[in-house]
Amino acid sequence: MPRGYDVLKHPDGGKPPATSGENVRQLIIIGSGPAGYTAAIYAARANLAPLVIASSVEAGGELMNTTEVENFPGFPEGVQGPDLMTKMQEQAEKFGAEIVYDDVVNLDLAGATKTVTLGSGRVEESDALIFATGSAYRRIGIEGEDRLSGRGVSWCATCDGFFFRERTIAVVGGGDSAMEEATFLTRFASKVYVIHRRGELRASKIMQERAFANEKIEFVWNSEVVDVLGEDAVTGVVLESTVDGTRSELALDGLFVAIGNDPRTHLVHDKLDLTPEGTIWVDGRSSRTSVRGVFAAGDVIDPTYRQAVTAAGSGTVAALDAEHFLAALGEAGAPEVDADEIGGRPEADRASAA
């Protein structure tokens, strides 16, 4: 349906249309971590009245499962992860972002108008889209892990640590999040093993030192978990040495997996170009993806840094890129869709931006 730029503005104050059709929004943001909410703050202040699809149960993202955040600038006393995310959400809403607590079940990025279908069946359309879905906990990938998930196997120390008072548990992993979880879990557990497949940690110095200094933490080096034991609850794990392949059993009441995260890209696998690391490909330092009008920000584009602050900065980049894109659309009027253009290769994008 041909239409002009004027219908992009919302005479009804940004109220969502019941179904698709007439009301095409300017911007939809998928994700509600630091990247999604920061993009929403910038876009809302630019009067783009963004719609944020925040997820039904994971709104606020990864920081909702953390406790003290000590490295977010501006909080010398530290800030609780959930409090920080609530503040970001309030800041976005203050400037006119609309937040919906639902999940995206389908995305159509092929045309000039992007279509987003939610779990409730609601359909939303927009000219520009920011994809900021973050990452999901990585699984070890062994049989007992799924079977005993929630029955002693956990990915969230702050959620489940409480239930392991005076118990013996293990954390798998060697990064910052593994050290943080192990240290946190010593509040409850009588003993916390840290199982790592290498002989040294990749965690930051400060986190390593904290873990090394903790009397309840014992390191199990050069070992991989190859099986989780137990019928209805975890009773132990089978370890395999990464040095000589010998196997041993370790009796445990709980196993916390902290071996990293994978970018959450399942919604766009066949729609956006990905990098060899599995993140969404973006053009240089911009947030432009391989599809015109679709921008990406935060952990879903970042295989390296993955911090709340870098995600927030990345969200800013996406909002500014989307704003420029929409402004250009406004000047030229909404272009008729050309099938050749649907792929929206970044070369074309660069050319039009130049």
């Binding site: 039904s56 607590y101 029955r151 392991f164």
Partner: protein, 107 residues
């Protein structure tokens, strides 16, 4: 209509002797995913007032019941019927997924 609270003191009456299925949401203040699933459960309760009763049990205040039902991860939702656990759902899920899990009771 929001889910009401139950405690160790009222457990027998609220849950075990209740008529019809009762979903108990084991939760705590410090549990981020619990905060997210709570409004979803309230919605499911509002939409199915005659089919299921949804109650919340604070595991900090009622550790005996958390222990008895071997809760090691929250949110944990257990559906009781006739005093027995019929279904256990672990972890926060979107509304449509919870509705699928509860189809036997609210379908």
């Amino acid at each position: 209509m929001t889910a009401k609270a139950t405690t160790s003191a009222t457990w027998d009456q609220d849950v075990l002797q209740a008529k019809g299925p009762v979903l108990v949401d084991f939760w705590a203040e410090w549990c981020g995913p619990c905060r997210m699933v709570a409004p979803v459960l309230d919605q499911i309760q509002s939409e199915n007032p005659d089919k299921i009763t949804i109650l919340k049990l604070n595991v900090d205040e009622n550790p005996d019941l958390a222990m008895k039902y071997q809760i090691t991860s929250i949110p944990a939702m257990k559906v009781f019927d006739g005093g027995e656990v019929k279904t256990t759902i672990i972890g926060a899920k979107p509304k449509f997924a919870l509705e699928q899990d509860l189809a036997a009771f609210i379908g």
